[in-house]
């Protein structure tokens, strides 16, 4: 079959790509290929699903109507196995081929599986945590086996999100994290400690600078994990969540250039001019680090998908790069973080911080040459977004540095001229 626009992957990048294309090109045929068997769901919501806060239906961030309205042909449950770059075709699992004019690769990420002795012998009770069907199986398993305590390997975003869900289901959780802190790539020691204590009060124990070296099974089911520290934790359910890596299966062996992820220019274009990439497997401009990076977060995927869509449909639009930002709420402690929160070379940065253990309150601002490059808001996150703007606009904060940590921090402390464009202006445009 033939299509004008072909999109591999039906998550956020794909959806925003569709919206952008349709803004410019009302008619051109759009085809989406997804190896999942669901019309649409929001991947990050799987922890809420696990925690029982949303039903499967509620997980859709775009409904069926959306695909109908935009005249999108959805091909579900089929995997794109290979891209035939020269022929502008892709090959689907099951041999069928689709010819395209423009292609977007948004195949997302895949969980990293660290080498663990004995893991291959374990037939049941070991899960990863990135896709809905996994979560379904996880829930069935918990119920079938009356699981009360779980071991989670990895205290990154996925690990903690999973933990959040498990705790909400009333399970006890043991977290094992290799690094010296949880949420290593956004948290610092301080933030980590506050959150660990909060977790501790909610039957969740965190073991840091440790990892699972060996697992043992009983009748194929997992039975205990042995840590590098020598400790043994009897466990009937293990979730491996040490992170994701770009899912590059489909570009393997093609002329499409990759580094950690698929490399793209400012128009989300790969080295092949009619092939674009967006989302967790894309290595694009990073706003803060002066190089390309893989930013496996939702807002990035959305923006990249959108930009790709515009350009695929012929409307030139530039991607200005984003920076890492996260919002997690664990055991009732909301946390928002932006950019470089924990510079490897602190001496080259200025760091402002304020905390209040009792209230799980912590606020940290990282400055370079009087410009904000990172921030952590823990406990009190209201209006945190303002900082994303300050980072994006590279605003010199020297005139109101003392206010950055104050509780009544708002637009009012900003320079009047800068403020004017905010209160009078049209709002944010790329």
């Amino acid at each position: 079959m033939k299509t004008k626009y072909l999109i591999i992957g039906n998550s956020v990048a794909g959806v925003y790509c569709i919206e952008a294309i349709r803004e410019v090109d009302k008619r051109g045929k759009i085809t989406v290929v997804s190896d999942e068997n669901i019309i649409n769901y929001s991947r990050p919501l799987i922890s809420y699903y696990l925690g029982g806060r949303v039903t499967k239906e509620e997980m859709a961030f775009r409904d069926e109507e959306f695909y109908r309205e935009n005249e999108v042909q959805l091909i579900l449950n089929r995997k794109a196995v290979r891209i035939l770059v020269e022929e502008n075709r892709i090959e689907l699992s099951g041999g069928e081929e689709i010819e395209f004019e423009k292609l977007l690769i948004s195949s997302g990420g895949e969980p990293i599986l660290p080498p663990i002795e004995g893991i291959e012998k374990v037939k049941e009770g070991v899960f990863t945590f990135t896709r809905l069907e996994e979560v379904d199986r996880l829930i069935d398993y918990i119920q079938a086996n009356k699981i009360e305590e779980v071991t989670v390997l990895g205290a990154g975003l996925i690990g903690l999100k999973c933990t959040e869900g498990l705790l909400e289901r009333g399970l006890r959780v043991n977290i094992i994290e290799l690094a010296d802190r949880i949420l290593a790539n956004t948290f610092d020691q301080e933030a980590s400690r506050i959150l660990e204590n909060a977790l501790g009060r909610k039957n969740c124990r965190v073991r840091k600078e440790d990892t699972i070296v060996r697992v043992e099974e009983k009748k194929g089911k997992i039975d205990k994990v042995i840590l590098r520290s020598g400790e043994t934790i009897p466990t009937r359910l293990l979730v491996i969540a040490v992170g994701v890596r770009p899912n590059l299966g489909v570009v393997k062996g093609t002329s499409i250039k990759c580094n950690r992820g698929v490399l793209v220019n400012d128009f989300m274009q790969t080295n092949i001019k009619n092939i674009y990439a967006a989302g967790d497997m894309t290595e694009a401009k990073d706003f803060l680090l002066q190089r390309k990076s893989v930013l496996a977060i939702w807002p990035t995927a959305a923006r990249q998908g959108k930009i790709a869509g515009y350009n695929m449909a012929g409307k030139k639009k530039k991607y200005n790069g984003l920076f890492i930002m996260n919002s997690v709420e664990l055991v009732g402690v909301p946390t928002i973080s932006f950019g470089i929160t924990n510079p490897p070379d602190p001496e080259n940065f200025e760091i402002l911080a304020r905390k209040n253990e009792g209230e799980n309150y912590y606020r940290k601002i990282v400055l370079k040459d009087n410009r904000i490059v990172g921030a952590i808001f823990m406990g009190k996150i209201e209006r945190a977004g303002i900082f994303s703007g300050l980072i994006r606009d590279r605003l010199d904060v020297s005139s109101f540095k003392d206010d950055l940590l104050s509780d009544d921090f708002g637009l009012l402390v900003l320079p009047a001229e800068y403020r004017k464009h905010m209160v009078r202006g049209e709002g944010f445009t790329e």
Binding site: E58, A60, R424
Partner: protein, 162 residues
């Protein structure tokens, strides 16, 4: 009122030099989003009092209020995990559907104006300016005694209440 529903893109502009700091905009925002639309009932009756979609800031002689800018490339829209935050096709406004909201706070993180109010108990976005889509004219604009809050169309021309 329904038939008077606005269907053109419009924008609220704040002129801080004229903001008296009376905060009547908040009062009338609350009334406009209350069940009864009656100021006394909204404040003293049995019905739950809504949260205003307006942030008020004041320091010394400077004060102003701010509500959602309904951005063209709204970061909150792109950040929203559930589609609770959506763009109204007719008016181009950024609206919020409480039922779909799960309180992931991604919008709070993404909004550079910091004008989305969280409700931590409900685990939902508490309120966000909807430009009074139910009324013919935004309550805060209508009731600002000093015309510090005004309404403009896409071209930036002022729209006055008939």
């Amino acid at each position: 009122m329904g038939d008077k529903k606005i269907n053109k893109p419009r924008r609220i502009i704040i002129r801080e030099e004229y903001c008296m700091g009376c905060r009547l905009c908040e009062v009338w925002c609350i009334v406009a989003h209350s069940k009864s639309k009656d100021i006394i009932k909204a404040y003293k009756g049995q019905e739950p009092r809504p949260v205003s979609g307006i942030y008020f800031e004041e320091r010394g002689a400077i004060s102003f209020t701010l509500q959602c800018r309904h951005c063209e490339d709204a970061p909150c829209l792109e950040a929203c995990l559930t589609g609770a935050m959506y763009r109204d096709k007719k008016t181009g406004m950024v609206l919020h559907n409480k039922d779909k909201c799960v309180g992931c706070w991604m919008c709070i993180m993404a909004c550079p104006y910091g004008v989305i109010k969280p409700d931590f108990k409900e685990k939902k976005v508490a309120s966000k300016c909807d430009l009074c889509i139910e009324r013919e004219f935004p309550a805060c604009v209508e009731h600002c005694p000093n015309e510090a809050i005004i309404l403009v169309n896409k071209k930036g021309e002022r729209i006055d209440k008939e």
